[in-house]
């Protein structure tokens, strides 16, 4: 088996006092391979979102480190460097509120591409054939296609999009910067069943289309079952769910 795309070692989150620490996430190892989709399930407050936020680099871990595609991505007390920021991107629960307000989606995506300097790191980004486009405009169009988003909607602001359209726009924004890993934090929980199903198709197709991996935090058992593997989080401890379809990667709970 090839080297894992995402390698997290001993990541944990604790806060509170030294004498009475509150542990949101116990030290966890996590490996994700290219082309793989992994679901994270668990009850509210179990630590799913904490795990997702650490992998996304939105929250710094208390211990451990995460590397992506062989690059040190983030670690204890260290936020991701801008140089490798594009490697991990996310799809939020409520994209309508999470995309910059009052700005057309296309503009937000352009700015993200501009800031992350994807063009300069194209060799490493290697985001699959669909994204080998030269210009930012082409890149955005390709990303919209992958996200099943009507390109006409790119010129609307997040407020002018419906819930499902906004989620697709968020996927397009994430894909456009050429990530290797996409972390989706309950992306379908605010949608009705039909829209959710359509979005799930777009999400689950991502590893195949971009050659990366997908970490999907969800409450939806049916959606989780469509992923390659399922991890269960309970009281801050991550374990592979029984009957995991592709065993062999190590998950450790200390």
């Amino acid at each position: 088996m090839s080297a894992p795309l995402l390698k997290a070692r001993g990541i944990s989150v604790a806060y509170g006092t030294r004498r009475r620490p509150i542990t949101a996430l116990h030290p966890t190892d996590l490996d994700l391979h290219a082309g793989e989709s992994v679901a994270v399930v668990g009850r509210s407050g179990a630590g799913k979102s904490t795990l997702a936020e650490i992998v996304l680099g939105l929250r710094t871990a208390s211990t451990g480190h995460v590397s992506v595609a062989g690059e040190r991505f983030c670690g204890a007390g260290r936020a991701p460097h801008r140089r490798c920021r594009h490697l991990v991107q996310g799809v939020p629960q409520d994209a309508g509120a999470s995309l910059p307000p009052g700005v057309p989606v296309r503009v937000s995506i352009e700015r993200a591409i501009d800031r992350l300097g994807v063009g300069r790191h194209d060799a490493r980004a290697a985001a699959g054939a669909a994204l080998d486009a030269a210009t930012a405009a082409d890149r955005i169009l390709a990303a919209a296609k992958i996200a099943h988003l009507d390109p006409a909607l790119l010129d609307r602001t997040p407020r002018q999009l419906s819930g499902g359209q906004a989620q697709r726009a968020a996927i397009a924004r994430a894909v456009a910067v050429g990530p290797r890993l996409i972390v989706a934090d309950e992306p379908t929980s605010a949608l009705d069943a039909r829209t959710a199903a359509g979005l799930a198709d777009a999400l689950l197709a991502l590893p195949g289309r971009t050659g990366g991996a997908l970490l999907l935090v969800t409450h939806d058992d049916a959606l989780a079952a469509r992923c390659d593997r399922i991890l269960t989080v309970r009281d801050g401890v991550v374990t592979p769910a029984p009957g995991a379809s592709r065993p062999g990667t190590a998950e450790r709970a200390a």
Partner: protein, 599 residues
């Protein structure tokens, strides 16, 4: 202990130690060299040679840096030696003790008055709860009670009761009769505020679910009432502590108006003569009183509830449907009257001495003339500028300070508490003693007490803004933390904070006026409202209009201040996400088409 808590504790300790150090080092902080003036005053035959000055410096305990001076002073204090007056050369101790005794008596009487006032304000609310009638917060009477600052109330009582009706002696400290008016002037505003807070807290508590549960399970009305009272008292006791610390500052003005030889007047005298050892002793006594009040408040709360309350533990008072509209109207009409005053008076000349001295109001001189024969309408209108323009500057500075400090919330907790517990008049006295009485010094003193509420608000707003989903997800698009703050958090927070600051403008103007009234701010002949009132009050018997014109202007700004405060209460939440709508999918960000942040 959590890191943030530990940081806050360290910040508090540092702020407290810093304050103590500054009190000790006051003589060093004073920019002028007191040795020369003391030399001239005491040994006029001596030449001011460097040796002679050095000898005086040694005698005054001025050699060494600020730390040495502060340490030496504190050592003396711990031995019971408060130092020697620079003016009289006599020990400071006995004078301070006498002043403290007088002030303590006055304060006890004032507390009595304020408790009576508060009880009178709270009684209707309690009765409504007892009879299970719909409960509202404190009414307009409570608002009116808190509208007037002490110096204005004291002047009014002096003019009407002592001079006009001649029921009580106008000044001095000769017996019970002479203590009545000062106690009223000092007790009514504090008691009004206390009663208002308690009334609102009672109304809020009485709507909590547990009250219904107790009533349904047949608890006697008396028991329920006692429990509601206890709950409400516990929630306001900290603020009551701050109110009474504020009374200490008000005492300076009241003692000055009624010529009472208390601690406030002692401080003012020390400031005016720049007698720093006396000032240090007075400030120490004030600080000790403030600490006693603070400890008493904490002890009371501990006894009532057993520990500090988490934020948001107190239910807000029920909303009054017409209260806000009344406040809006009052605010609007007040501002319109102020504008009218400016339009009529600004074209006139406030310095020209052309009219008859103390001329009565006429068609030519709508407000009459002052003791020098200057047009009072012109002086009051220009005084509006002299008061409001510095106040505006203070508000802008306070908003800026609050905004900057909001990004280090734990580090500023200690300074916020210390500054919050400093009455503006005391800050003004200290600054005037150090640098002489100027508008700038008064402005700095008022700024010192104006920034904490804005900083607290800014901390809350920044936290709220950072939690907005689109701000939280910005790092994914490669936006750096500093850029997140400057481009996305500050633009959302600043307008709300500026609005809050503008609503505080009238209150800031009043604080400035109170310093001007005491002679700690603008100097003659500059027109400034507090100053104008102080000038007019000397002629109140012969020409009451000299007092009336600035007093009316000050009452106007007081009314605007109170109306603004109630508007602020009702609007406190809408600057950012309304909590009720937080679950909807609508973004919480600004609704207007946003000025696109430049790429």
């Amino acid at each position: 202990m959590r890191t943030s808590d530990r940081r806050a504790l360290i910040s508090r300790i540092l702020a407290g130690l810093g304050l103590l150090g500054i009190v000790g080092a006051l003589p060093w902080l004073s920019q002028r060299d007191p040795a020369l003036s003391v030399l001239r005053a005491r040994y006029s035959e001596l030449e001011p040679t460097p040796e002679a000055i050095a000898a005086v410096r040694a005698e005054l305990g001025l050699e060494g840096g600020p730390v040495a001076i502060s340490a030496r002073w504190w050592e003396g204090v711990l031995h019971g030696d408060l130092g020697t007056s620079w003016v009289s050369g006599a020990p400071v101790g006995p004078g301070v003790w006498h002043a403290v005794g007088v002030s303590a008596t006055l304060t006890v009487l004032a507390l009595l008055v304020s408790f009576l006032v508060a009880a009178a304000l709270v009684a209707p609310v309690l009765r409504a709860i007892a009879r299970d009638r719909p409960v509202r917060g404190s009414g307009p009477v409570g608002v009116a009670m808190t509208a007037l600052p002490e110096f204005l109330l004291a002047s009014g009582l002096l003019v009407i009761v002592a001079v006009h009706l001649q029921w009580l002696p106008p000044y001095g400290w000769t017996g019970f009769g002479s203590a009545v008016l000062p106690a009223l002037a000092l007790g009514i505003p504090g008691g009004g505020l206390f009663g208002r807070l308690l009334g609102d807290a009672l109304a809020g508590s009485s709507r909590e679910t547990w009250v219904q549960v107790w009533c349904l399970s047949g608890a006697p009305r008396r028991v329920v009432l006692a429990a509601v009272l206890r709950r409400a008292l516990a929630s306001v006791v900290d603020q009551v502590g701050l109110i009474f610390i504020g009374v200490l500052g008000g005492a300076v003005a009241v003692e000055q108006v009624f010529a009472i030889p208390g601690l406030g007047r002692y401080l003012l005298g020390a400031a005016n003569s720049q007698d720093l050892p006396a000032l240090q002793a007075g400030v120490l006594a004030m600080a000790a009183a403030a600490v006693v009040i603070g400890v008493a408040a904490s002890a009371t709360r501990l006894w009532l509830l057993g520990g500090p309350l988490p934020a948001g533990a107190v239910s807000p008072p029920p909303e009054r449907p017409h209260g806000d509209r009344l406040a809006q109207w009052t605010f609007g009409v007040g501002c319109a009257l102020l504008a009218l005053l400016l339009v009529l008076g600004l074209p006139r000349d406030p310095f020209e001495i052309v009219h008859e001295r103390l001329a009565a109001p006429s068609w030519e001189l709508p407000f009459g003339a002052d003791a020098s024969g200057r047009d009072l309408l012109a002086r009051v209108a220009h005084g509006a500028l002299g008061t409001l323009v510095p106040a505006l500057g203070i508000v802008v500075a306070a908003v800026a300070v609050g905004l900057v400090l909001a990004f280090v919330p734990n580090a500023v907790r200690g300074p916020i508490e210390v500054a919050n517990a400093t009455p503006p008049i005391i800050a003004g006295v200290i600054i005037a003693a150090l640098f002489g009485p100027t508008v700038g010094g008064a402005a700095v003193a008022v700024l010192w007490v104006s920034w904490p509420p804005l900083a607290s608000h800014a901390v809350a707003l920044v936290e709220e803004a950072k939690a907005m989903p689109h701000v939280k997800w910005l790092p994914l698009a490669g936006v750096r933390p500093f850029e997140v703050m400057v481009r996305h958090v500050v633009p959302v927070v600043a307008p709300a904070l500026a609005r809050h600051g503008m609503l505080r403008l009238p209150g800031v103007a009043l604080a400035l006026a109170s310093l001007g009234f005491l002679g700690l701010g603008a100097q003659p002949p500059a027109p400034e409202w507090g100053r104008l009132l102080a000038e007019g009050i000397d002629y109140v018997e012969r020409a009451p209009w000299t007092t009336a014109a600035p007093a009316v202007a000050l009452i106007l700004i007081s009314v605007i201040a109170v109306a603004a405060a109630s508007l602020q209460g009702s609007n406190f939440r809408w600057p950012l996400a309304p909590r009720r709508a937080a679950t909807s999918a609508a973004p919480v960000a600004p609704r207007e088409p946003e000025p696109a942040d430049a790429p």
